[in-house]
Subunit: 175 residues, 3 copies
């Protein structure tokens, strides 16, 4: 069974073609760097509309069978920033540790890191992680949280992810 990773860019402007979706591309590049396991990316670039974001998360988790769905955009305080609310609505469990660690890491670079409301949660056998919108922060945040991702996916009965150990070290505690 092929491993599928979902990438959702929530951005009014990128989805309207006003600018290129550099953030979504950055996530796809990072996944290629990290993962030794053969995998397919399922990519969606959509407007900052809460209903659309929720529908897309459901599609990628339930129909496309993505074990991991990574989003970018829509985590700030502005009126159209609703990705964390969408995530909370579709998830059965929230994982506060992801957002806490990502904000802590971003705080080393900018004091406005506290404005990022990104979170993570579990829907069925899928882990959904919100990343910030800026390409530079994406890699910083993924480098911080990804070591815990393969074990998290083991625990929710998803596929076994193998990482390129020279790029990122997955950690699986000895039982």
């Amino acid at each position: 069974m092929t491993i599928r990773i979902g990438v959702i860019t929530a951005s009014d402007r990128a989805s309207a073609g006003i600018y290129e979706d550099i953030s979504g591309m950055a996530i796809q590049e990072t996944m290629k760097d990290y993962l030794k396991s053969k995998h397919e990316i399922v990519y969606r670039c959509i407007p900052d509309d809460q209903h659309t974001i929720e529908e897309t998360m459901r599609e990628l988790c339930d129909e496309q069978g993505c074990c991991l769905v990574v989003t970018t955009g829509g985590t700030g305080p502005a009126r159209r920033d609703v990705t964390p609310e969408a995530t909370e609505n579709v998830c059965e469990k929230m994982m506060p540790g992801f957002g806490e660690l990502m904000r802590q890491v971003s705080l080393k670079y900018v004091p406005t890191a506290i404005l990022s409301r990104q979170s993570a949660g579990i829907r069925g056998k899928s882990l959904i992680i919100n990343l910030p919108g800026k390409p530079k922060s994406i890699r910083e945040c993924l480098d911080a949280v990804f070591p815990a991702v393969p074990y998290c996916i083991d625990l929710i009965e998803g596929p076994y992810l193998e990482c390129n150990e020279e790029v990122i070290k997955a950690f699986r505690p000895k039982q």
Copy 2:
């Protein structure tokens, strides 16, 4: 248009005149220190009653047009401590990064910092921030989070706040 900053002290004893509201005064002094922009303070000292706190927050945001509302008091675990619940009820979006950073800063001074439940959130074009009740902690917490406040208010379409850079440095990322 004048910039308005709301200050709410939630305290049964201060609102009954049993003691002076040193905390509310400390916030007002700090705003004067921080802000170069001309501004007015709208100040309320009220009991620790959830309904009253919510009504006061709505008044300061919606009727008084405060772009920033800072509260003190009512963030502990005691029965009458209900400011975070009031904040969550009146806000459309919660900003977990503010509470996380304030607790982290206060933890350098006292291990009981984890008992502080303060948070922050967005109501319309207003940012509401809960501070702890103790005057000493107020300045520590504001020094930590305020650099992100002017940019946050830009993002929610509020007025442009200018800071006294020798006192506190506002950070606005280059777009």
Copy 3:
């Protein structure tokens, strides 16, 4: 009046007798080490069933009069991990600072600490704290948060806890 401390192990396997409840024992040992005040432990080992966990928390708080209820197990992302949800359902107030600090401490040891969803909350005059399931992490987490516990219990009008100061130092701010 005797001080009562509740200990709940949520574990399908330990409650079925498949393995020994080392984690529950570790908490009881730690309480004996920490507390100078005479106290009784009320111990329950139950399956990872949300309804059962909620009922047990209510019993220990309301009927047994425990001022502190410490749980272990059920804080991960797996389908049967529901202790944080049970805690949130029975508590009037959540205390996010406990989970934040415990995850921060555990992150020094393992990157998978972000998968721990443990929290804490207040039900009436009882403080409920979720600890992780692994015995080693239990002591690390308790050492980090316990200095704030006696003062928290003062604030919710529980009994006065005295600690063995050479083992753990309770902190009570001067009023």
